[in-house]
Amino acid sequence: MTGEEILKVTGILLQYLVPTLKIFGFTLLLAVPLGMVVACLKMCRFKPVSWLTNVYILIMRGTPLMLQIIVVYYALPFLRMSEGLPGFLADFLNGMDVASEEFMFNAVLVAFVLNYAAYFAEIFRGGIEAIPKGQYEAAAALGMTKSKTFFRIILPQVIKRIVPASSNEVITLVKDTSLANVVAYSEIMLAAKQQMMNYSSLVPLFIAGVFYFAMAMILTVLFGFIEKKLNYYK
């Protein structure tokens, strides 16, 4: 490939960066709070809730994300074909345009959020359970309410503890966005594969690799900065 062609392909891939970042950003935005909720459900003292949550986490962590994306994407069209659905559900399903870009984005996002929430939940749970009992007791002895204890004493310490594990997860997420190409969502990998065919060259893949590497680098630096910021105590 000539230099000009490389620039051109880079420009094309750059356009696919936005949909890639859209999956990345929205997944983080939704999976982190959902993970927090899932972690709380798993630590719930009412056993059935804890078990059900555990089953969810086991399935999400035990099956490939790619499979989950395909299942979510094709679930609705298949569901629509089945008979005997209640009227409101059938109307709802028929009202959806499964061929649209919007539907594809939503389906991919649902799969990503469900998957990543399970991983984040385990990170949060580990962080919360690592806080010594004495911290709760000290707060209780000082008359602090449960919510004040959690938000002022426990959570700040949990955040510090989970930064390294979270940074791993977030960097993996950037690279996992490439899995969305399995349902032809227009992200960087999809474009790189098309350009590879166009030019009969591996260079577009190499360029895509540089894109992912750069994003991972930025995140690494960012998390390093956060870790340093939180390092004012041990």
Partner: protein
């Protein structure tokens, strides 16, 4: 005036009765030491009074407020939540492992509860915290984080933190057990100073010499029972009880 009054307290862990028929009281300005071998129930007793464990029978009164009482069937009932909260604020607790909040500076540790729980304005809380730190000889450490302090310094901060709520009584759960022998002295000195100021205190400790010097009353516990309850003189010198003697003997020969 009675600050703490415990009557016929029972506590079970499952089928095991770990505290049996515990009764004693502490008046304002008194220092009570609780001694006894490990597993005798001293810490459990302290945890019951501090509401970390629920008792299964008996009564606890703190500053004239009933934490638990007996209903008409003789069953032990806890006071409503609001009263329990109020009672809690009457008690300051100093832990064996300090349990300072590591993400807060020394000053923040001390003003956290006054500001968040008592809703003091920050200036008042800070002024009070600085006074307490001065008393503990830690004025220049206000901005430090607990991880940068020695064990003895951390324990002094935790005493200041407990006192910031102006409690009627201070409880110490083996306050020197996590410290190097070299550092226990500074904590014992602080407690002695508080005793001289007539602070009411209940101290669970293994420091026999200290307990003897500082206490108005001493309790010796073994296997969940109070074996001895009296003046230091009567427990340390005049006891006729074989078990007490054995226990004290072991400390003397160490």
């Amino acid at each position: 005036m009675s600050i703490l009054n415990v009557k016929n307290l029972h506590k079970d862990f499952g089928k095991l009765r770990v505290l049996k028929d515990i009764s004693f009281d502490v008046n304002q300005g008194e220092v009570l030491s609780i001694i006894g071998p490990s597993g005798s129930g001293k810490s459990t007793l302290l945890r019951c009074i501090n509401q970390f464990e629920r008792i299964d029978g008996g009564e606890i009164n703190i500053c004239g407020m009933a934490m638990t009482y007996r209903d008409e069937n003789g069953k032990t009932v806890y006071a409503p939540k609001k009263a329990l909260h109020e009672i809690r604020l009457k008690i300051g607790l100093v832990f064996q492992n300090f349990n300072l909040f590591p993400h807060m500076s020394v000053l923040q540790n001390i003003i956290e509860a006054p500001v968040q729980v008592l809703r003091q304005d920050k200036q008042t809380a800070v002024a009070n915290a600085e006074r307490l730190l001065k008393k503990m000889g830690l004025s220049e450490k206000a901005k430090e984080y607990p991880c940068n302090l020695s064990g003895g310094q951390q324990q002094r901060v935790s005493i200041a933190r407990a006192m910031a709520l102006n409690p009627e009584v201070l409880f110490f759960d083996e306050p020197t057990s996590a410290l190097d022998p070299e550092l226990t002295g500074e904590i014992l000195k602080v407690i002695k100073e508080l005793a001289a100021e007539k602070m009411t205190m209940v101290i669970v400790t293994h420091e026999m010499q200290f307990a003897r010097e500082i206490s108005d009353k001493v309790i010796f516990m073994d296997e969940g029972y109070i074996i001895e309850y009296g003046t230091p003189q009567s427990v340390f010198e005049d006891t006729a009880n074989e078990r007490t003697r054995q226990f004290l003997e072991r400390y003397r020969t160490r």
